[in-house]
């Protein structure tokens, strides 16, 4: 029941150590503007990768669930503009947001419980677009098109959340914990059943497992993960507007997951880093009026060269080397 092999543990530890040390060498913008941003959006992508790789569910509602958490924390936040009558401290608003996101995840799981494949995609897309339009037209809670601003986040050890280092380390900690959580969960009986459902729901059902319940629980867990991302994204953007959870944002998260690779949770973060880098610097390296073409081309090339994302490409490189190594071994004997 090991979460990872010793080698994977070592690799994870090395990557984490490098990430922890990065603030010593990187300028501030890279910490929050590239890496921090990749981490928080990567968390939302992680929730999608979890559902896709272990449950076989491609859900387009993960950005919307992040939005549920974001709007919950924004509505309850003490610094919100416009101020709400129900302002709490951030330390109460954040758990409330996570509960809301988990519940929203479960509800979406319930609604979509009988659908698979393209139908699941459609129903989650409909929910996502519906929620974004609702937020845009509701003034009383969501403040419509302008959204809720000035969500600064709590102070951590006396430092404002928006300090580059605080934001970076908090995002890194949360992302690492959620990543390990996903790796742990998929080895539990629940996670194994989930993978069974992915491969053959009828057989799992015949074995006496409640398939529907497992699906709803998986969506609720993914909702919790997306909710963590949603809260951090709202702090990063100093607020939330309907466009934060609209079609573009939804597709962006899908793009991150796909180019990173849906095969393993780490793909979500790899995809998010590539996406942030492209999004930030494409306009610098290419014509400013046409830089979206470059972004599109790069993503197209990644998906064409390696249908299972950058991660799949890396894996193939490894496997391409391995048989060779084995050959050498047999040769010496």
């Amino acid at each position: 029941m090991a979460v990872m092999s010793p080698r994977q543990w070592a690799l994870t530890a090395v990557v984490l150590a490098i990430m922890l040390a990065l603030p010593l060498v990187l300028p501030a913008f890279w910490l929050s503007g590239i890496l921090g941003r990749s981490l928080v959006y990567g968390i939302v992508a992680l929730s999608l990768t979890f559902l896709a790789s272990y449950g076989g569910f491609i859900s387009l509602a993960q950005t919307m669930i992040a939005g549920v958490a974001g709007y919950t924390v924004a509505i309850l936040a003490p610094t919100a503009i416009p101020a709400s009558s129900s302002a709490l401290s951030y330390w109460l608003a954040m758990p409330a947001a996570l509960v809301a996101a988990t519940v929203a995840g479960g509800v979406i799981g319930l609604i979509a419980v009988r659908t698979r494949d393209i139908y699941l995609l459609m129903i989650t897309l409909a929910l996502a677009v519906g929620f974004s339009l609702f937020a845009q037209s509701n003034i009383d809670w969501f403040n419509g098109y302008e959204g809720i601003r000035n969500i600064l986040g709590p102070d951590i050890f006396g430092y404002p959340f928006r300090t580059h280092l605080v934001f970076y380390y908090v995002s890194l900690t949360v992302a690492a914990l959620l990543y390990l959580l996903v790796l742990y969960v998929v080895r539990t009986p629940f996670g194994l059943t989930l993978q069974g459902i992915r491969d053959n729901p009828r057989r799992v059902s015949a074995l006496g497992f409640d398939v529907a319940l497992h699906r709803v629980a998986a969506f609720a867990l993914a909702g919790f993960i997306a909710g963590c991302g949603g809260v951090l994204i709202t702090f990063y953007n100093i607020g939330i507007t309907p466009s934060s959870i609209g079609m573009t944002a939804t597709v962006n998260v899908l793009v991150m997951s796909v180019i990173g690779g849906l095969g393993h949770p780490i793909g979500a973060f790899i995809g998010a880093v590539i996406f942030s880098l492209m999004d930030t610097f494409a306009a610098t390296v290419y014509d400013r009026n046409r830089f979206n073409t470059l972004i599109g081309l790069v993503f197209l090339v990644i998906v064409l060269v390696s249908p299972d994302g950058v991660l799949g490409f890396g894996k193939r490189l490894l496997f391409w080397r391995k048989p060779k190594a084995r050959e050498e071994q047999t040769g010496t004997h």
């Binding site: 603030p23 010593l24 300028p27 501030a28 913008f29 890279w30 929050s32 503007g33 941003r37 503009i81 416009p82 845009q136 037209s137 003034i139 419509g144 098109y145 302008e146 959204g147 601003r149 000035n150 951590i156 050890f157 430092y159 928006r162 300090t163 580059h164 280092l165 605080v166 380390y169 953007n237 100093i238 607020g239 507007t241 466009s243 934060s244 609209g246 573009t248 944002a249 999004d279 930030t280 306009a283 400013r288 009026n289 830089f291 979206n292």
Partner: protein
């Protein structure tokens, strides 16, 4: 826990050191002034964004990119009219490219996002591009955010009085899109119109409505005009269907109703367009020599641009001009956290290309003139022509600030003056 605290504080100390270092290099490199800009080269307002950059280019070329011997370096960024994207671009400009001043953005929610971001900055200035949400400067204004263009509510100044007093129309049917910008415009119209004694029947439709059948059926019989606060394809859809239904009421437009989509499209709506009234900061035809000269310069510099500069070009130009004038006043000196520059910027008074005087109020929001416009047939093309103006329109529409704020934010139900029967 303790180790973490220690690590964070060491890291913060290190970062502060790095920051101080980069601050020093910035001070040495003060021979160039870095100006970043954000507009929408993607998404629904892409053509407006392109036009905005044309106008900025004109403003920089007028002074040959130099202020007092210092070169201006212009770094352009693009957003897609979404607040998060505009914010990410602004962060990149400030934190990565190390610009001194940002000019932008173009749309309302982006403006509010950058206003909030500017509050967290020190020694940096954000000057609006073309965004027109009232709250950007009306409530919770930021000391680092300046806006030299007028906004949605101001743009309707004078129209309400003109419709009631000069045209004698006592009841209008309002056909408007159901979101923040039309709310602001409707408020600007209704403040005067309701006070004068007029009544308004409100008919809201969601953004991107294609079928206005039920709305047309609900226009009251005793209405004297239709007040149409819609933009782009929505306005076109309504006017086409209203014309086909045999509608005869005069049309009064909002500031973005009579845009190029509507003016250049052919169809039954053209019957209703000629003579359509509106109000706003610009008009295609304006006798002021500054405007005539500016339009001629624009058309000569950009033969592939629009026939007449768009409202976004006008706003970006006005804001860029203000930045350049203030920079000239302080000789390009941005030291001391830009204190002298920001003071100069706050105190500056100049004329925008329409020949209207521009000055800022205490919240760093423009006070300027608003023009009443009418659509005329100018040798086969429909254009807007200025025929009157309201001078020195403040953001509080001439009211006392507290009194105006007490009216509350504009919404579907605020303000309200329904017909009595």
């Amino acid at each position: 826990m303790l180790r973490k605290t220690l690590r964070i504080s060491t890291a913060i100390a290190l970062a502060t050191g790095a920051l101080a270092l980069s601050g020093m290099t910035a001070a040495n490199a003060q021979e160039t002034i870095k100006i970043g800009s954000i507009t929408t080269l993607e998404g629904p307002f892409a053509t407006g964004g392109q036009d905005a950059y044309r106008a900025m280019e004109m403003a920089f070329e007028e002074i040959d990119y130099t202020i007092n011997g210092k070169t201006i370096e212009w770094i352009r960024e693009s957003s897609n009219a979404q607040a998060d994207v505009a914010l990410a671009r602004a962060r990149k400009l400030i934190e990565q490219d190390n610009v001194d001043i940002i000019i932008g953005p173009l749309s309302g929610a982006e403006g509010i996002a950058l206003r909030d971001y500017s509050r967290t900055l020190e020694g940096k200035t954000i000057v609006n591009g073309s965004s027109g949400a009232a709250d950007t400067t009306l409530r919770d204004a930021s000391p680092n955010f300046f806006r030299f263009n007028t906004e949605g509510t101001q743009w309707m100044a004078g129209l309400g009085n003109h419709v009631y007093n000069d045209l004698g129309i006592q009841h209008v049917a309002l056909v408007a899109a159901d979101y923040a910008f039309p709310y602001a415009q409707v408020m600007g119209f209704m403040l005067d119109y309701c006070k004068a004694g007029g009544a308004v029947t409100k008919l809201w439709s969601p953004l991107n409505t294609t079928d206005f059948g039920s709305i047309i059926a609900n226009i009251p019989d005793d209405a004297g005009a239709v007040l149409l606060i819609q933009g782009g394809t929505d306005a076109l859809a309504f006017l086409t269907q209203y014309a086909e239904a045999g509608g005869e009421l005069p049309i009064i437009g909002g500031s973005i109703t009579a845009d190029q989509t509507l003016l250049s499209a052919r169809g039954p709506h053209q019957r209703l367009m000629e003579g359509m009234l509106a109000a706003g900061p610009i008009a295609d035809l304006n006798d002021d020599p500054m405007w005539v000269e500016w339009v001629a310069a624009y058309r000569e510099r950009f033969p592939d641009g629009f026939d007449s500069p768009s409202i976004h070009a006008f706003n970006y130009y006005t804001n860029t001009k203000a930045v350049l004038l203030a920079l000239e006043e302080v000789g390009g000196d941005l030291s001391n956290n830009q204190q002298a520059f920001q003071e100069a910027l706050a105190g500056i008074e100049f004329k925008n290309p329409m020949g209207a005087n521009v000055a800022l109020d205490d919240n760093r929001q423009a006070i300027s003139d608003i023009f009443l416009t009418r659509i005329v047939d100018d040798g086969g093309t429909l254009r807007t022509q200025a025929f009157g103006k309201a001078e020195g329109v403040t953001q509080t529409m001439g009211m006392d600030r507290d009194e105006f704020l007490a009216l509350g934010s504009p919404s579907r139900d605020n303000p309200d003056c329904p017909p009595t029967n």
